[in-house]
Symmetry: C2
């Protein structure tokens, strides 16, 4: 096939070699991607940086071959092709590259491919679930980068994608806690704030934003949703141990069967009580827990104060949420309904 | 804790019971979600509809308990709390619900949870990889729904999310093909158009859009990228069999080791030649293929015409891409660089 001829027999002036086009595209996009990646939660950032070839598995800078930047080059050249400067298309170029990298992360997991760009694929280094989450994070970041310039959609997209990132970060911490014996209740609450609080806070903020609320109203409604999320997670964790299977749709003691480090369990383990120590021994085992063991584990969590702590924390978070709601100066009818919803979610409605 | 009191001793007028608030929120959001879900590729739609509790695993309508719609209710009430109508916040409400459902799909995969809302979790019904992809699809749809109203960011987001959905649909078809003996080259090309063509087409469209190109220019540059993507995939599949490990970063015959149904293999299997039939027998086995077997498989693909067919198709797609590029009336310098890039990507640069 002949190269494209667009101006008769002579090639147009200033045509750069493809190697240079790609190198410049990679450079231009990396200037957007590096600071964008810095906005990722640390748990996602290290996997992303490894995958991009910026860092080794410990986060130390390396020079590995990254992607070829074909997609960003297509974006930038297409902008130029219609007469604009390449700089007008930097954000979509970075977004497309992020979407590509996201799909590679998930692809390698799904296909079980162990090698990517001459290095061990991210999932072989960080695990399958972290690699799935990191892919999710890059996809979210892609949207964030794409809409970052347009005021109108940008604010909603910013709030939204920040929440998804926090959600992924929380899920990632949740996975990490399963491997650790020394999780303390404070970091467990921070995890729950990400895993559950972020999206509830985002829900309120987006509603207030769409409704034309003031920045203060948006902030306070966001805080209401966030704290409500924490209260909700505490209640959910209580139900994961003591909930009625008819209501929860899960087997009795379901969170204990999988030795899940839910908030009541973490509080019990950190209690320094004899019951907490006995619980630690049972939780460290590998063999499946029999029904009698499960009942004993539940008793130990309660005896070590995990149940009472969780209930008290849930009450505290709910009170704090209500306080935020009040401070948002909300219209009375929806405010009362939000309050009722908060009580429903935290099982305070009966 | 006491219910929130915002207007002295009397509750505000017209406060609806929470059950009604949730039911209305669910209804309002479902009116956005159902048509939004219809825009998903079929492969994603059936998993989403199952997960939402709309359909059984065969796509037949059922009435299963869906989510409680707590998050959408928070969005709608927060809009009302700042004095607006709930209807102003329908899109963010749907987007937040989609992000929640996305995280549940991935969560169940990561945690190995087999039950969700009293039904088998989606991954137990459709498989792990399809559930991961369906989650990705819902996250993408969330952004699409969120930005659907704002002209400026909306057009870019629409193009972008459509491409991500096509990418996921292509990956899904790719997974499905691994289970089938009767994949034909035409559907395999359609899969590649999604898996690889969509994002390259999107790259060009976004660049042209950002650069202020006309709708025709955007379309034609998109077609250029799409066909280039197909050519690229064909070349990539050829390299997956006959590529030099030094260049590809993968072991020799890597796609054959995993019995991947790449385009040359599918063409060979569908050839009706004796070599194709012998190949089918080797590909149907379960035992790992020894080095000698791999060399034989590569020979059979070639003898059955799979290599020549892929090379011819790659040439045809590249020619078609170039034709689209020319018809976009592009500026000469970037057009020449796009052409060179296309030749690089398809290994026609040497």
């Amino acid at each position: 096939m002949q190269p494209l001829e667009l101006s008769g027999v002579h090639p147009p002036v200033g045509v750069r070699p493809t190697r240079e086009v790609l190198a410049r595209s990679r450079e231009a996009v990396e200037a957007v991607l590096r600071p964008a990646a810095e906005t990722l939660p640390a748990s996602m950032r290290r996997i992303a940086g490894y995958h991009f070839g910026w860092w080794d598995e410990h986060g130390r800078p390396i020079t590995a071959a990254g992607g070829k930047a074909i997609r960003p080059a297509l974006v930038l050249l297409s902008a130029e092709a219609v007469g604009a400067a390449a700089g007008t298309a930097l954000r979509p170029a970075a977004a497309v590259e992020l979407a590509h990298e996201f799909s590679l992360l998930h692809d390698d997991v799904m296909d079980g491919d162990r090698t990517r760009r001459h290095r061990p694929a991210a999932w072989t280094v960080f695990g399958v679930s972290p690699a799935i989450l990191a892919g999710d994070a890059l996809l979210t970041l892609a949207f964030d980068v794409l809409t970052a310039g347009d005021r109108a959609a940008a604010e909603a997209a910013k709030i939204f994608s920040a929440a998804v990132q926090q959600l992924l970060d929380g899920q990632s911490a949740d996975l990490a806690f399963e491997e650790r014996d020394d999780v303390d209740p404070v970091e467990c609450l921070a995890m729950a704030a990400g895993k559950t609080g972020a999206l509830l806070g985002c829900a309120c903020a987006l509603g207030a934003l769409a409704g034309g609320g003031s920045p203060e109203q948006i902030d306070r409604l966001a805080a209401f949703g966030r704290d409500l999320g924490l209260a909700f997670q505490l209640v959910d964790d209580l139900l994961g141990i003591w909930g009625d299977p008819e209501t929860t749709g899960k087997p009795v003691h379901s969170d204990l069967r999988s030795r899940k480090k839910s908030l009541p369990v973490v509080a019990a383990l950190a209690s320094g009580t004899p019951a907490g120590d006995e619980l630690a021994v049972l939780y460290r085992g590998e063999a499946p827990l029999a029904e009698a063991d499960l009942a004993r584990v539940a008793e130990l969590v309660e005896a070590a104060g995990g149940r009472a702590w969780s209930q008290a924390k849930a009450d505290e978070m709910l009170a704090q949420a209500t306080c935020h709601l009040r401070s948002a100066d909300p219209c009375p009818r929806p405010a009362a309904e939000l309050d009722a919803l908060a009580r429903l979610v935290t099982r305070r409605d009966r």
